[in-house]
Symmetry: C2
């Protein structure tokens, strides 16, 4: 008998009692074995009420995400199958980068309950308090050449957007170029791709995915509340199951990644454009070498943003911070 | 008085004796100070003959490249100004990558006398015996977005080719796409760019430059002699001054890099095409996802190779191993 089976059995009963005899019969193990598994689950942070004659019931789940909870929910081939769940780390990106250098396979996932030095785009800090978000990093070893890496950035945004929409259908999510997800103009998540290449060959890509799931207004610095929101806050205060969200993210991501491997960027591009809130509005683009104002019209076939300039000409932008004139970016 | 000054003075005399009094006067230091500097140079591997009444003369240089020798030859703003010369390392790339992560500035250079795990393209081993080659890595922190990294690969090939042509004018050097340098069809050098990026922003690029300078036929595994040659072997057996070559490489590289920052890829592309031996010949291209046969016709504005296929259509290739049908790549 595996731990997973007992947990699944108790979860299926949705808080009702199941007799020890019943469990013992259904899992085909001794009642002593059932008791040992109960104690193991308790050691993992589950609360199990044991009442004579009634039996056992699951009355509390650990606030931490556990492999016990997550693995049975996974519906993937490779993504998340190699899994490391950590309590507090400076950054899941740095942890996974180390594993990548040591040869970890594609799909390896690092999840942390809390990051002390979470990073966003352009080196900005990222608020990632304990137990309230999804802070994780996923390892890819794509066969695409280096210049096509922006396509993966856009793919990640589409995958995350589709996953959140599945888990919290009430939300209307827009993608701000290249990969910020917004609800009512406020940021709910961040994506950061760190890539390592030798010449034109990508050695690996570490995809950092941060979702503000169950954060409360108190969790944000005051000045951030104008432009950041959690799924719970945007969902009328209803908490979201983080393990379920992770499983759905991995499923959507792997599905799109396989589609990309098979059919290239075209379907990803169409999905991105359909979800974008960046196209056809005048924006200010701050690039490493200067600022320009224009109207993004589409993606090009490489994944760059085709921007129409005031004189009617077009410029393709690959790296920029995007905003209305006068605003600044960030979480 | 600096070490460099005494060395420069002795070098300028080209092996003739200079009296201690003369040195003391020209460097404006005491004769005891001259003697101390002589001993320091000897400790660095220089041979200095000291003969009563005649004075001092430089009769031997260390076989190792020293900062003392290299720095006065440098004619650069930043390249090579931060310098680490090492004896034996697994790979200069790994050493410089560590420095890059610690915040080393653009232009930082790591030189090794010998590499025990030198790497070439696609993870191939690279023969780098002690004291006979230039094995070094140069740090760039370019403001170009990630998709334009192939342009830097091509720039590196042009810079190295121009530098070698300046130091060994007798050689006719051709560039094989993307960045192998060939003399009479045999490889004399290898270039490997390792890049680290966050989203579309390049954090840094470590440029590995390996030149087989004074290697003898004995230094090569037999099967490599058909397709690899050293500058000395190609130059009628005449040895080349490694420190001078390094200084010229850094100068040519920095000059092209500044040109690139100012005027973009167009001038680099023109130089690359002019030196290429890859264009307009039928070749086999082995990419991560398959093999194709065609005729490379030009570079596109991103730095990709525009290949004409047998049906007359064009395909742009960013990552491939290139060869005549039946041959394989490598050093």
């Amino acid at each position: 008998m595996s731990n997973v089976s007992l947990l699944e059995l108790l979860e299926a009963e949705a808080g009702a009692y199941v007799s020890g005899e019943d469990i013992s019969r259904r899992l085909n193990v001794s009642r002593t074995a059932v008791w040992k598994q109960v104690r193991k689950l308790e050691a993992q942070g589950y609360t199990i009420d044991a009442v004579p004659r009634l039996g056992y019931r699951l009355s509390g789940k650990p606030s931490r995400i556990t492999a016990l909870e997550l693995l049975p929910k996974l519906n993937t081939r490779a993504f998340g199958r190699q899994l490391r769940i950590m309590d507090v780390v400076p950054s899941t990106q740095d942890e996974l980068r180390k594993l990548a250098e040591e040869g970890a396979p594609e799909g390896t996932l690092v999840i942390a309950e809390q990051q002390t030095s979470g990073r966003g785009r352009m080196g900005r800090a990222w608020v990632s308090p304990a137990g309230k978000g999804v802070w994780m990093s996923l390892l890819l070893r794509p066969l695409v050449p280096l210049p096509l890496t922006p396509q993966l950035t856009l793919l990640a945004a589409v995958a995350l957007s589709r996953a959140i929409a599945r888990v919290v259908p009430s939300l209307s999510i827009g993608i701000k170029w290249p990969n910020d997800l917004l609800v009512d103009g406020k940021k709910i998540s961040g994506i950061l791709l760190e890539s390592a290449a030798e010449d034109e060959r990508l050695r690996y890509v570490v995809v950092g995915l941060g979702v503000s799931v169950n954060l409360e207004p108190d969790d944000y610095p005051e000045e951030l509340l104008e432009r950041a929101v959690s799924l719970k806050m945007a969902n009328g205060g209803k908490a979201i199951d983080r393990a379920e969200l992770i499983a759905v993210i991995l499923e959507e991501f792997e599905r799109l990644y396989d589609l990309f491997a098979e059919r290239g960027f075209a379907p990803i591009r169409a999905l991105w454009e359909a979800h974008s809130v960046t196209l056809n509005h005048t924006v200010r683009l701050t690039t490493p070498t200067g600022t320009l104002i224009g109207v993004p019209r589409s993606l090009d076939e490489m994944g760059g943003l085709r921007v129409e300039l005031p004189d009617g000409s077009f410029q393709t932008v690959y790296s920029a911070d995007i905003g209305d004139p006068g605003t600044r970016g960030g979480q």
